[in-house]
Amino acid sequence: MGEMEELRKEADNLKDQITEARKVVQDTTLQEAVAGTTLVGRVQLKTRKTLRGHLAKIYAMHWGTDTNCSKLCVSASQDGKLIVWDTLTTNKVNAIPLKSSWVMTCAYAPSGNMVACGGLDNMCSIYNLKGKDGNVKVMRELAAHTGYLSCCRFLNDSEIITSSGDCTCILWDIETGTEKTIFAGHLGDCMSLAVSPDFKMFISGACDFTAKLWDIREATCRQTFSGHESDINAIGFFPNGNAVITGSDDATCKLYDLRADQELITYQDSGIMCGVTSLAASLSGRLLLAGYDDFNVNIWDMLKAERVGVLAGHDNRVSCIGVSSDGMACCTGSWDSFLKIWN
């Protein structure tokens, strides 16, 4: 038993040393550094489209990459359907019935050829949108997780990364349907993941209140960030790929820098009590849009950490949010069964 005590002490000691090492580079704070920058003016976005069609809570949405001037996105709802929408015309391009209605996540492949989803069935199901006969069919069912599938993101048509309530993330080879790499290290359910702009890394947020940066090829955890006081539900990269944004049940969002290896700033307000469910950055990274359990989306000036706008259009929790890849529109999905396009 004595050895375990020694080891635990060593681990704690290292953590303390890391805290000290982080202090060494704190020659300023982000707040001080941006003191001379003007706050962004009040941001007022309007609902341009409402996507109606789901019959129950929407749990997830993901934008496709632009092709052919259409703006496609996929959404997943507890009504047991994945719907691919043409968000400009509001037409449903595909309505895919799912085997399990307890779906928690969905993703659009960058190529536009596939979508994926998963949930309480512990599996990630891949659907081919461009099948020969025009029907959308299940292409693969990726099963290995021992907990619910909380999030999934395609690297390309051959690889996908999933996060799960079993505390791990997995990189899969879609063609063979097998696990290539298991990323273990979190001490609580993994709730969300995001891939870096160069596709070499990904970050995960979990119910152990930490965010982890993983090297996909080396299969290692590079960095761990803590500071949140409750589950991290949402995570994303700052557009330059050098910083990470997290959203938590503690009602705050945080910005962590990868090169400084620490938290830069917290986005919080005493008037906000409810947890953050989802987040997205605007194209320049100047704005942070975050969805909350109190039915609103709050818009933050990412550098000054002040609220500069609110999107109040949903009648129930905002469960998911995304900014299109050209930055022109923001899409929100809610438990009220609607998706809204704003700009």
Partner: protein, 463 residues
Amino acid sequence: IRHYVMAQTNSYRQSSNGVADESPNMLVYRKMEDVIAHMQDETNGIPVRTVKSFLSKIPSVFSGKIHFFIVTVKRLEALHLGTLMAAHGYFFPISDHVLTLKDDGTFYRFQTPYFWPSNCWEPENTDYAVYLCKRTMQNKARLELADYEAESLARLQRAFARKWEFIFMQAEAQAKVDKKRDKIERKILDSQERAFWDVHRPVPGCVNTTEADIKKSSRMKQPHKTRKSVYGLQNDIQSHSPAHTPAPEVKEPTEEEIRDQIQHWQAQLDRHRLKMSKVAESLLSYTGQYVEYDPFFTSPEPSNPWISDDITVWELETSKEPGQQRVKRWGFGINEVLKDPVGREQFLKFLESEFSSENLRFWLAVQEVKKRPIREVPTRVQEIWQEFLAPGAPSAINVDSKSYDKTTQNVKDPGRYAFEDAQEHIYKLMKSDSYSRFLRSTFYQELLQAKKKVNNWLRRPDV
């Protein structure tokens, strides 16, 4: 005017590995209860009084006017927050089943702490049946069932047909107990009980704030703490939500796990850390540079399709003619020119004109093979090796000897990342050499100043 400033408490209980003992909802309830405590403060809180109305008195109410509520927050926010707290059942309008806060003179009452959501209530349908049944026994106009309640009662009578006698007896017993209470007390308790059910069985169309995200509920930490019965009944009927699997006991890490952790922390400790001032500078410069490309700040030309329904701006994107703004963006960094298909094309054309395109072609080929299905990878890897790296290769590239040796090994057992080291090396070369030349070239400068159209370049004689 009474002032209230929200207090931020940081007393979230965590066990040693950072995992909370409580559900995330408890965080929200505690914050709301802080506000309630301030609202109910004897000296600085809201005045709660008995109001005389036509023929009777209304005990223990406060006015809906919210100027007392939260002064540090704007009016719309105070309404939003107040409605949120009402929807969670901390106070309620005395004459409406719909739980909102309105900024008018209507009256509200505080909920008794017994019924607070922080007590982990999950009342069963049998209890709701007892409650509705009891209401029908009390001959008071104010307790008459609303339409949706009458429908619920009918439904429950069908569902519990077998044990209805038992439910009826419970309702009778409860009604008896209620009758014995003081009249004023009864008024207050009746309304609080009704408000409790308004939270757990809301008016159709209203949000049920007790609904939990299935990701959270499926790891419910302390199921034994849930209070399921208001009137002391047990229910064996299944609920509609997915089965709650009890959360696994938090495991103590094994020796191997701690050793892994130590290795991880050591590696993280040894990282080089960039100064905060440099990081802040980089964030400021990035956002400053891209703000003109951010449609939330700069209107796209000619118009935003979401507003005008005119998709010209997207048609321009897919055309081969890049606008000035787009060409300017290629100059922000090599990644910008590499991720834009037209950028890649123009960069390649420039390099071909200088007979130095092999680096870029190699880089593009390696990017492409990483996305291929695994069965096509080995062949492609061989092709790339032959074209760029093998002795006598037609498009020979220069990599450092270390990368070359490693790649030679990788190619023997080819996977998607066979050329990773070589690609890293070539990328750095391109960044410092080819890319800089491209930006300084007449080719690029003319594109930037929109002095020529891209297609004209094809007609120029080889330099």
